[in-house]
């Protein structure tokens, strides 16, 4: 077993789960179906290809920089007559950074890593107009599971965001796919069964919310200045 880590950063991202028609919402963090779709596209699969092998991977996300939700109001006009068409609303996450982790058999993880480095279809963060602003691949972690990989990975938030935190460590939210040992957990309809546009289907999957502590590289370094010592304190 090994873990593939992906960095999902960009001015805009959008991770829809149940959005249809004119109101396209986004979840606050990348969805499994969205990331699996990105990987399937990188492999060059078409939408009717059965995603079962990729869906069987265990999935986790770490929220490195939460981002800001923004609403986009979109109009369309008839190209020839200029007549306006129904308006739609699209929601995006602006300014967010996530780490997505996929755990599975070594050879499949390897293949996905290669695909992310040379994608067949160009990758985007949930919506085509949202290209990543940093390279996606952070490489493979061979020692340990998703929990360990997300715990050890350095904080990938932007420098300006890190500088806003003075403390030496920060607590980052994780959303990790539950295992059979986890007992009762939350579930969301985000387990891809088929991406076929004629019958997209998703099953429920269990998720476990948690936190990891990572160090903040922008925290002020502790200095030798110790006024208490001068006063004879301990």
């Amino acid at each position: 077993m090994s873990v593939l880590l992906l960095q999902l950063a960009g001015p805009l991202q959008a991770w829809g789960s149940s959005a249809r028609f004119a109101r396209r919402t986004t979840e606050p963090a990348p969805t499994k179906s969205g990331v699996i779709g990105l990987l399937a596209a990188a492999l060059g699969r078409d939408r009717s290809h059965d995603p079962a092998d990729l869906a069987a991977l265990r999935f986790g996300v770490r929220v490195d920089q939460r981002g800001v939700p923004i609403r986009d109001y979109q109009t369309a006009h008839h190209f020839e007559t200029g007549k306006s068409m129904p308006v739609s609303e699209r929601f995006y996450l602006a300014d967010a950074v996530f780490i997505a982790a996929l755990e599975g058999p070594d050879d499949l993880i390897d293949e996905l890593h290669q695909a992310v480095r040379r994608p067949t279809y160009l990758p985007y963060l949930g919506r085509r107009s949202c290209p990543p602003s940093r390279p996606l691949d952070l490489g493979i972690r061979e020692d340990g599971d998703i929990e360990q990989a997300l715990k050890r990975e350095e904080w990938r938030a932007s420098r300006w965001h890190q500088r806003r935190h003075r403390e030496p460590t920060v607590r980052l939210e994780t959303i990790i796919e539950a295992t059979a040992d986890d007992g009762p957990v939350d579930s969301i309809r985000d387990q891809p069964l088929s991406f076929d546009p004629t019958h997209r289907r998703y099953a429920l999957r269990g998720i476990r919310h948690g936190y990891v502590e990572v160090s903040n590289p922008a925290a002020p370094q502790p200095s030798d200045h110790d006024p208490i010592a001068v006063l004879g304190g301990e």
């Binding site: 040379r118 085509r128 107009s129 949202c130």
Partner: protein, 397 residues
């Protein structure tokens, strides 16, 4: 490993007070990036501007039409082929043919179905995107099945042919920007071009222009002295970073084997890429264009051809630029940032030798970018990118 060809476009463009793309309250669109508010022009807005530019760059036969009145359009072609067909019969033939080809219902619009006038032409429920060549193919098929069109399309081969026509030899704009037919998932086309939302390299605050308009005809002394009308227009000024990538291999598959029979196999993809490069660089969304007259062109454009994956350079501007009047403002700062950032990220990710690079730039503020690649004018750029793409495509085949 097969050769991959991806074209990347990066542009730095300054727009003075303007409102290129606004939301439902009339406010220019924005987004937060790097922790501060930025001006934003949505990707769909600039894609539409680019598509509009194609009309001056390409032959109508290479372009598509996006319309709900697809039956009316097709009926016109049917009657050109066979003048003996009456208009209403042509509508019916067209509706049945499009319905077969796309799986979408084509019906007379409900809104004016009642009333005494003649019945309106049937329409699709949403905008459909067809190339001129696809419409010609469908028209021929409709004329062939004219005697009993419903029975004609019951035949498996005829039905398959209709679908096949709708699904091949796409126009340049469909091949680049894709087609969505919500009912006929099998004739969707994946867009070969990816256009990001343009965002400003610096922080912006939207401003509001309060205006009064004088009533010229108000001349009698006892008239009130107030303004004829008052109002506000919101706007901002921005130096935008614009990014797009074209997957040339996918574009080539979408276009199919030649727009015309009598030309080289790489000709369609060359022409499409050239039109996209020219159109993306020179086009401008028309929002409030007459109010603000903000007709500008990019100060700098960097074009790269890569063989692995595209890279957006927006991170170079995550920390917002600050204009410095003594040093040359946002354009200079943005150019220097790009000139530093591009070699750095390419070295860090081992893709430094992968790209062929051209630079189009204006004025001393963009001098820093000269070192990134070969300096060219727009006509040279378009020609060189086209030639390179065509060369790589013929090597690959």
């Amino acid at each position: 490993m097969t050769t991959r060809t991806i074209v990347e476009l990066h542009a730095i463009q300054t727009v003075p007070p303007s409102n290129l793309n606004r939301d439902d309250t009339g406010t220019p669109k924005t987004a937060v990036y790097g922790g501060v508010r930025r001006a934003r022009v949505s990707s769909q807005s600039w894609k539409r501007a680019t598509r509009r530019a194609f009309h001056d760059l390409l032959d109508p036969s290479e372009l598509g039409v996006r319309t709900r009145r697809v039956a009316e359009l097709l009926a016109g072609r049917i009657r050109n082929l066979d003048g003996s067909i009456e208009e209403t019969e042509a509508w019916a033939l067209a509706a049945e043919t499009v319905q077969t080809a796309t799986g979408s219902k084509i019906e007379p619009p409900k809104r004016n179905a009642k009333g005494d006038g003649p019945a309106p032409a049937p329409e699709s429920k949403y905008l459909m995107f067809f190339s001129a060549r696809q419409l010609d193919g469908l028209a021929e098929l409709a004329v062939k099945g004219r005697d009993d069109i419903k029975a004609f399309f019951k035949d498996k081969d005829n039905k398959a042919e209709a679908k096949q026509i709708a699904n091949s030899r796409h126009s340049v704009d469909i091949a680049l920007f894709g087609r969505m037919v919500a009912d006929g998932a099998d004739i969707n086309v994946d867009a070969a071009a990816q256009v990001a939302h343009a965002i400003s390299v610096h922080q912006v605050e939207n401003e509001s222009d309060y205006y009064t308009a004088v009533d010229d005809h108000k001349e009698r002394e006892d008239d009130d002295l107030g303004a004829g009308m008052i109002g506000t227009v919101e706007f901002n000024s921005a130096t935008l970073y614009r990014y797009a990538a074209v997957d040339v291999d996918l574009l080539s598959r979408n276009l199919g084997k030649g727009l015309r029979e009598d030309e080289e196999a790489t000709e369609p993809v060359r022409r499409a890429v050239e039109a996209f490069v020219q159109g993306f660089i020179t086009s401008l969304p028309t929002g409030k264009l007459n109010t603000f007259g903000n007709h500008t062109l990019p100060d700098a454009v960097v074009v790269k051809i890569r063989s692995s994956r595209p890279i957006s350079f927006v991170s170079a501007f995550e920390e917002p630029c600050r204009a410095d009047q003594d040093r040359g403002g946002h354009v200079r700062e943005a150019s220097e940032r790009l000139a530093r950032y591009v070699p750095e990220i390419e070295r860090a990710y081992g893709v430094a030798d992968d790209a062929k690079t051209w630079v189009l730039r204006v004025g001393p503020n963009t001098t820093a970018l000269a070192e990134l690649g070969e300096e060219v004018s727009l006509p040279e750029l378009v020609k060189k990118v086209g030639a390179e793409v065509a060369g790589r495509q013929s090597d690959a085949s």
